[in-house]
Symmetry: C2
Subunit: 137 residues, 2 copies
DNA sequence: TACTAGTTTAGAATAATTATAAACTAGCAA
DNA sequence: TTGCTAGTTTATAATTATTCTAAACTAGTA
């Protein structure tokens, strides 16, 4: 379990003031065993369960964007209308199940790429992501 | 170059009435050498250049959806707010350049996957897509 | 303790897409 | 050839996800 101090350091280290909203959101995101796949909407629901101080949806969006910029979360490729994010920032891959619209992590060593093309001239590869879409049946 | 008859057959074979709007859109999409990456917006612009009969944006969306269902085009994975489509329906891969928001096809044999995971129980793999994101510099 | 820059907030604005329902038309049948 | 009908198109309204705005608030410092 990530201590509050660790979370505060994480925020400070990326030039984000540790406000109570950011700390609460960071706890929800990072204080868990498995990686977490979420959208602004699901994060908002998770954070704003009764009992907690309410965090505005605007702050949810701002914070997700700030965490993304800082590299604490990453955006996942989909063909959904919503943006999906992942707390697993290591390069890895996903199954996408269109029936449930759910993503599942694929461990990086479960996929071996034997050959990849050279990037266009003057460009560098930032990231590789394989998405395995499942049949809708 | 695809003849009008071929296009009409293509539409008929997928239970789509060959209306003049669909024929015009199909020509724009399929009557070209290279595969075409587009959004509803770019397709709308391409189709509604001056001189042509105007096709409403609603019909653009309807037709794209219909062509997608019929398997004549496929939707590409991105983390953009717009939906991107590709007239190349064979399984293949893309470079994504975040600076220009442009996608480039990667030929299928340019990528060799040596190992992929088994799909979850009871599920089948429909499609594999690798996206290589380039550095934003 | 007071100041200031960064942050949060509610609400308005925007962008992409989908829904609605009236007018139109392709394809068939009389 | 005409008329019918289900499928299609259209303009417009509605919806959804997200971003913007500017006033109120607060963390960190002086």
């Amino acid at each position: 379990m990530q201590q509050k101090k660790e979370i505060i350091n994480k925020l400070r280290s990326s030039n984000l003031r540790p406000t109570k909203q950011r700390i609460l959101i960071a706890k929800k995101l990072f204080d868990r065993k498995e990686t977490f796949h979420f959208t602004a909407e699901t994060l908002n629901k998770a954070v704003n369960k009764k009992g907690h101080a309410r965090i505005s949806l605007g702050t949810i969006y701002n914070t997700v964007e700030a965490f993304k910029r800082a590299g604490h979360i990453r955006e996942i490729l989909t063909n959904n209308s919503k943006s999906y994010y992942d707390t697993n920032i290591k390069s890895h891959h996903h199954f996408y199940d269109p029936s449930s619209k759910k993503l599942t992590d694929i461990d990086y060593h479960e996929v071996v790429l034997k050959k990849i093309p050279n990037p266009p001239k003057g460009k560098k590869i930032k990231d590789l992501e394989l998405v395995i879409s499942l049949q809708k049946k």
